[in-house]
């Protein structure tokens, strides 16, 4: 006999509303259902009402933690569409900001993972070490989050070179703390018992689900947009793609920790190699056309698509956050595990639910789904056809 144990829509495990239905037999998960659609904000539609220059501020708010990656992917999509050359200094600045973001995002995850395991000391310590990173973000950009730095054709603000020595000093401190955390995770036998061999995502399953970011890199597949399709200054500095082949939650934690060390390395080199120069190419007009842009967010590849008809607003903007691809892997990883493990496995993809939100149509009287994906697509195609007929195409 199976019981349904709900995780969500409001649960201490989740920072955002989301519903997982765990079908459990005793404490063993035999099936899992995910229900999204609790926090749909219609961001893509909002973007169509903003000018190209305003959209970065909107997409920044898709996710408070990936608030540099979404605008990066967006401006790259527009630059791809309009064939814009970005000055080198702006590229370095983009890299610095996105790496600072990766640092604080991974430290945030580490703390939360500790909290989910009941290890609140790790929670507090990781967040304490995260604080200097946020301070640096504030000093360099004016904000701890939502930096408002990205702009089509460059960056909005230059970095103040007089701050670099103190930033580099704090990077050294962070390096020390990070190494301490790596030691703490890899040496703790209780953590090994909790994390090793838990939530196995085989390389085949990872490929089949199209998993991204640290989730797939922990399954031994070294995919990274930063190296595979270099953007910003990632091909101008020297760094390594981290991947391990343990395929479990432990591997995902190790990948994130080691990536933090890589981020420190990248930031140091970018600050070192950066030369004074232009930061904006002064884009005036966006021609008609379409473009794509992607960036490696802390959770995986963020993808943006933009279409322009030559006016000052995009007529179509599409964003896909990495959790959209990573979330379904829970079917492969949680089934057969216990409730205890299921919680940390769900958390191990570092899910970001608001970014993943898609529309769903429900019947309010029964609470059941009224239309499925195929029906929705059919409806939208009919609507498009109807519009075309009205416009006389």
């Amino acid at each position: 006999m199976t019981t349904i144990v709900p995780i969500g829509p409001f649960h201490p495990l989740l920072e955002e509303p989301e519903l997982f239905r765990l079908h459990v037999d005793g404490e063993t998960v035999v099936d899992i259902e995910v229900e999204i659609g609790w926090n749909h904000r219609g961001i893509e539609k909002i973007c169509e009402t903003k000018t190209f220059d305003q959209v970065p501020f909107v997409v920044e708010r898709i996710c408070g933690i990936c608030s540099a990656c979404h605008p990066t992917a967006y401006v790259q999509a527009v630059e791809d569409l309009a064939d814009i050359e970005v000055p080198e200094r702006a590229l370095y600045i983009r890299s610095v900001i996105t790496e600072l973001e990766r640092l604080h995002s991974h430290l945030l995850w580490l703390g939360l993972a500790g909290h989910f395991l009941g290890y609140n000391t790790v929670f507090m310590w990781a967040w304490k070490y995260r604080e200097p990173v946020l301070d640096i973000c504030e000093e360099l950009t004016g904000n701890r989050n939502n930096y408002a730095m990205l702009k089509v054709g460059g960056v909005r603000r230059d970095l103040d070179e007089s701050l670099f020595p103190s930033v580099l000093e704090r990077m050294d401190d962070l390096d020390k703390h990070l190494n301490m955390l790596v030691g703490a995770v890899t040496d703790d036998p209780v953590l090994h018992a909790r994390l090793k061999g838990v939530g196995i995502l085989t390389p085949e399953a990872a490929r089949a689900y199209g998993a991204l970011g640290p989730t797939v890199r922990a399954s031994g597949i070294p995919i990274d947009v930063r190296r595979d399709h270099p953007y910003a200054a990632y091909d101008l500095v020297d760094w390594d793609v981290i991947s391990v082949d343990s395929c479990d939650v432990y591997g995902r934690a190790v990948v994130r920790l080691l990536e933090c060390l890589e981020s420190v390395k990248i930031i140091r080199r970018c600050l070192d190699q950066m030369r004074p120069g232009e930061i904006d190419s002064g884009v005036k007009e966006i021609p008609p056309g379409e473009g794509i842009g992607h960036a490696e967010a802390p959770r995986g590849e963020t993808f943006h698509y933009v279409r322009s008809d030559g006016t000052n607003r995009p007529i179509r903007h599409k964003a896909r956050a990495p959790t959209y691809m990573n979330l379904p892997t829970c079917r492969a990883t949680t089934v057969g595990e216990s409730i205890t493990d299921a919680t940390i496995i769900l958390a191990s993809v570092d899910p970001c639910y608001s970014c993943t939100e898609r529309m769903g149509v429900y019947d309010a009287s029964t609470g059941q789904k009224a239309l499925d994906g195929k029906q929705l697509i059919k409806l939208s195609q009919e609507k498009t056809r109807q519009l075309r007929e009205e416009m006389g195409e």
Partner: protein
């Protein structure tokens, strides 16, 4: 007769029973929160915070889940509180009045009384008709079966060493004459074996599976609100005082009759408590199957070694 009854009632309700243990227990839970906060680079709560929490909860609405068993749901916290209070009364009386305070066999009664708070959690969780609460209750049951075996084995050590004494008072006077059990090899091994059991009895990380906030949202206590929840919290705080106290009395020489020895006893209690707090802050929650395996494996083995050593007489 009536005078004796009143004295017993006073001991149960005021000192060293309900009132005294509740106040000291809440102060100790403040200590727990404060030390935890300092370890985690936080400021921590003000001294009276645990009292505010209880008072505030007492004034909140009590909601009984529809379909649950009302009697069992509301009765369970009282069972736990009664158990913890009675245990505190017996231990405190024996600790203060020495040989005259206890009665023959009270150590066995105490072993039962100390289980009552855990049983109350199981009862309350099962009565609340919530799937997460039943998961919590079943975890508490497994944990209980896990740690009770080594806990009872350890309790054999003082009994064997004293030549079959079954009263707290007698065990205390025996220790006063011959030195505390913890001074012997078997006593040290017993104390080491009983520490994880203490942690589990207090339901603290790494053995808080029954509550596990981020997994099952408070587990057995998920449906509790208002006064019944306050009673559960109070019981937990009282156990923070009672359970380590029990170990100090049974294994570690008690509090003696002089001021110096009493202070030494309090020092021992605080040392145990701080050890518990540090353990809870340097470990993640383990899985319930690992916990049971741990208690039935290495901890039971260690407890058995202690019993064997006691039988040999070291």
């Amino acid at each position: 007769m009536t005078a004796n009854f009143f004295i017993a009632l006073l001991r149960f309700l005021i000192f060293p029973g309900l009132l005294f243990t509740a106040v000291v227990g809440l102060v100790m839970s403040w200590l727990d929160r404060k030390v935890t906060a300092r370890v985690q680079w936080r400021v921590g709560p003000p001294f009276l915070q645990p009292f505010y929490d209880i008072v505030k909860l007492l004034g909140k609405e009590v909601i009984v889940p529809a379909g649950g068993s009302r009697m069992a749901f509301l009765g369970a916290p009282l069972v736990g509180l009664a158990g913890a209070t009675l245990a505190a009364t017996l231990i405190g009386t024996a600790a203060i009045y020495g040989g005259g305070g206890g009665f023959r066999g009270d150590i066995i009664i105490l072993l039962y009384l100390l289980v009552l708070p855990s049983l109350a959690v199981i009862l309350g969780g099962a009565a609340s008709k919530n799937p997460l609460a039943s998961v919590g209750a079943s975890r508490e049951m497994k944990l209980l079966m896990g740690y009770e075996l080594p806990f009872i084995l350890v309790m054999l050590v003082p009994i064997i060493q004293s030549g079959g004494m079954l009263s707290l008072g007698n065990l205390l006077s025996f220790q006063a004459q011959h030195g505390s059990f913890a001074a012997s090899l078997s006593g040290v091994v017993a104390l080491v074996a009983v520490l994880p059991c203490l942690q589990a009895k207090l339901a603290l990380v790494p053995f808080d599976q029954a509550e596990a906030e981020t997994e099952i949202m408070g587990g057995a206590l998920i449906e509790y609100s208002g006064a019944p929840l306050a009673v559960f919290k109070l019981t937990k705080a009282m156990m923070l005082f009672t359970a380590p106290m029990f170990l100090v009395v049974v294994l570690w020489g008690g509090f003696g009759q002089t001021l110096g020895s009493a202070l030494l006893g309090i020092g021992k209690y605080v040392a145990l408590l701080v050890l518990v707090i540090l353990l809870r802050n340097t470990n993640p929650r383990v899985k319930i199957k690992h916990a049971v395996r741990f208690f039935w494996g290495p901890v039971t083995a260690l407890a058995l070694i202690a019993v064997l050593l006691a039988l040999v007489g070291v």
